[in-house]
């Protein structure tokens, strides 16, 4: 993609990320995060990761964020009072913004210095479902299976933890 496209994608991306971090209303934060995830999916497409882009939208934006929204609604959260009031930790907040800014700056500068050459040439099916699936089931079968067990445990755990105690 050209620089213009990049800018068109990057600027909203950063803007919505900042919204997630700054906005007092948790629902708005969640929506901002959803938009961030969408935009990232688009970037993935440009980077040839089509399968991942789809997964990003379906799993991340579609499932995880929905879960977040469910919880927010369940707990009936309104504007984050504490954040609105900026409950007295100004030094930490200042430190965080300064540190974060420095971190971003330094990392960016470091990355921009690296003399990457042109990206490697790839075939048309790069990043497609078939290619990714082959890699998963052949090269990385064990981690795949372990990941499924992890998901099982997570499901059980979530159910157990969120249960109401029998009265």
């Amino acid at each position: 993609m050209g620089p213009l496209t990049f800018a068109v994608l990057a600027i909203p991306l950063v803007a919505s990320a900042l919204t997630v971090v700054v906005h007092p209303n948790p629902v708005k934060c969640a929506m901002a995060l959803v938009s961030t995830l969408f935009l990232l999916a688009v970037v993935f497409v440009f980077l040839g990761a089509h399968m991942l882009a789809a997964l990003q939208v379906i799993v991340y934006a579609g499932a995880i964020m929905v879960l977040f929204l469910f919880v927010i609604m369940l707990l009936n959260l309104s504007d984050d009072a504490a954040d609105v009031r900026h409950q007295g930790r100004p030094l930490v907040r200042l430190g965080a913004w300064v540190g974060g800014g420095l971190l971003a700056g330094e990392l960016a500068m470091l990355f921009l210095r690296v003399p990457f050459g042109a990206p490697a040439a790839v075939g048309n099916d790069y990043g497609g479902a078939e290619a990714v699936a082959t890699s998963l089931f052949v090269d990385y079968l064990l981690p795949f299976e372990l990941a499924s067990i992890l998901l099982l445990i997570a499901v059980v755990g979530a159910v157990v933890l969120a249960q109401r105690r029998a009265a």
């Binding site: 991306l13 993935f44 971003a104 490697a120 990714v132 992890l150």
Partner: protein, 100 residues
């Protein structure tokens, strides 16, 4: 074609923003979201480098990251709900119940 390092820089910025969110916010759910943001920044980095190297390994890692993030979100939110029952707050300071 935008140089790969631009993508990496973008990922760095997103990561930093997520870090700031973790440090600054008091609402634990929003802190969670900031963590998800950081994870996504890392995903972006992996994908960009995978493209640069022409390998699919980076994408596979991202697949797993997403899986684990999903599991983590489920369990974490379940914990928050359970804690909310004990103490009806989502303020991180007030929820520090494991600390004496």
């Amino acid at each position: 074609m935008v140089p790969t390092s631009w993508y990496l820089a973008l990922g760095a910025v997103l990561f930093a923003i997520g870090a700031i969110g973790v440090l600054v916010r008091r609402n634990i759910i929003v802190i969670f979201m900031a963590i998800e943001l950081m994870l996504n920044a890392v995903n972006l980095t992996f994908v960009a480098l995978a493209r640069q190297l022409g390998s699919l390994d980076g994408q596979v890692i991202v697949f797993f990251v997403m899986t684990v993030a999903a599991a983590e979100a489920a369990v974490g939110l379940a914990i928050i709900i359970a804690a909310y029952r004990n103490r009806p707050t989502v303020n991180a300071d007030e929820l520090a119940i494991l600390r004496w």
